[in-house]
């Protein structure tokens, strides 16, 4: 498969969030503001990139029977590293994302890419795949973050959008708003994809 095709697949047609619905926990939990969403997306992309590279390099040496525990150890190592970097350089973001940083380990997206792509393909292909999927994930997260932040706080990336008369809808920043906003966005995305398929 051509590299450009591998890359673009993760962005739209196989989008990990809107189409495959993978890694739902962080998608819903940390998207109350656009900035948090972006941080989470970047952290997940770095872990995905690291794990895809290492797993594709080791794919001939990992016995197939114990491959899942091997993948998990590789992923957990990168998650620990990303967690330490966030703690050292971005303490506020680390505080906001909280428990969802260590939980990147069990993000089905990362294990899914390791199992279905990196363990079968070359390193260059796996890097492209990780970037495509990672950016597709980040893009979807930021989109959801923007929608929730605009309705819930009346801001985007902490910039005030409306005048004083704007009443923010606090529900959007809480759990029910997360579920409903993602449901509606997913339906909109489906509509666009269906239209393109026709």
């Amino acid at each position: 498969m051509k590299l450009s095709k591998i890359f673009s697949r993760g962005l739209v047609m196989d989008n990990p969030v809107f189409i495959q619905a993978l890694g739902m926990c962080p998608i819903l939990a940390v998207t109350n503001t656009a900035f948090n969403s972006f941080g989470m997306g970047m952290a997940t992309t770095s872990v995905l990139l690291g794990s895809n590279i290492v797993i594709s390099l080791l794919r001939k040496f990992i016995p197939s029977k114990i491959r899942i525990p091997c993948f998990i150890v590789v992923i957990a190592t990168f998650v620990t590293m990303v967690g330490m970097i966030l703690e050292a350089y971005f303490p506020a973001l680390n505080q906001a994302l909280g428990i969802f940083i260590p939980l990147i380990v069990v993000n089905c997206l990362i294990l899914g890419r390791a199992e279905s792509f990196a363990s079968k393909n070359s390193t260059v292909g796996s890097i492209t795949d990780a970037l495509g999927m990672g950016l597709g994930f980040t893009g979807a997260l930021v989109l959801l973050g923007i929608v929730r932040e605009v309705i819930g706080f009346g801001t985007v990336f902490d910039m005030q959008l409306f005048g004083d008369s704007f009443e923010p809808m606090a529900l959007m920043t809480m759990a029910p708003g997360a579920f409903m906003a993602l449901g509606v966005l997913m339906a909109v995305f489906n509509r666009i994809v269906y239209a393109r398929l026709k």
């Binding site: 739902m24 759990a175 509606v184």
Partner: protein, 193 residues
């Protein structure tokens, strides 16, 4: 520590801070395995068992290995390995001792390794500095909360299958909006403890 504090932990884990509907943990199985009431009940039982066992083992591992050696940064790796091997062990034991139970739970067991509710629970136990008894009750409460949410949701989804809705909303979108309404209902428990 008193009986009432344990009761508070239990009730808050089941209703107020429901793992699925207010903490966003375990959403993948919540959406993936909730098409039928029986299967979601099976998933709930398997999760209950693994959560309780994993909480006890990770509590011991944190106290007597990580804290003792001062290597707390290894927490994520150690905990996920404990959970993965525990799930494997449970699978083997159930397969040998009770083929009937294995038939009904078998397919869900491997899925539990990547259920973030289990890893999330073990990390929360340590963060909240619970002792062993509180840890066990927190695990039981979290597991009951998870089972409650997934079984209720499955009952709604069985009916959603037959509803006439726009094609774009079929599947995940309508399921998410339904989960949002359930989450809204669970917010009513907020003042309970």
């Amino acid at each position: 520590m008193s009986a009432s504090s344990i009761f508070v932990i239990l009730i808050s884990a089941i209703f107020v801070n429901n793992f699925v509907l207010s903490r966003f943990l375990g959403i993948c199985p919540f959406l993936g395995v909730s098409k039928k009431v029986e299967t979601s009940l099976g998933m709930g039982m398997a999760v209950t068992f693994v959560m309780t066992m994993a909480s006890i083992i990770t509590f011991v591992a944190q106290r007597f290995i990580l804290d003792l050696l001062g290597i707390q940064y290894m927490q994520t790796i150690v905990f996920i390995l404990v959970i993965a091997s525990l799930v494997q062990l449970v699978e083997m034991v159930i397969q040998k001792t009770s083929p009937v139970l294995y038939q009904s739970l078998g397919v869900y067991l491997p899925l539990i390794t990547t259920n973030c509710a289990v890893l999330g629970l073990t990390i929360l136990n340590i963060q909240n500095e619970y002792n062993l008894v509180e840890t066990i009750f927190h695990a039981i409460g979290a597991a009951i909360g998870f089972t409650l949410a997934i079984v209720l949701f499955a009952a709604i989804r069985e009916r959603l299958e037959l509803v006439d809705i726009p094609v774009e909303f079929k599947g995940f979108p309508i399921a998410l909006i339904t989960a949002g309404l359930m989450s809204l209902a669970f917010m009513g428990f907020a003042g309970l403890v």
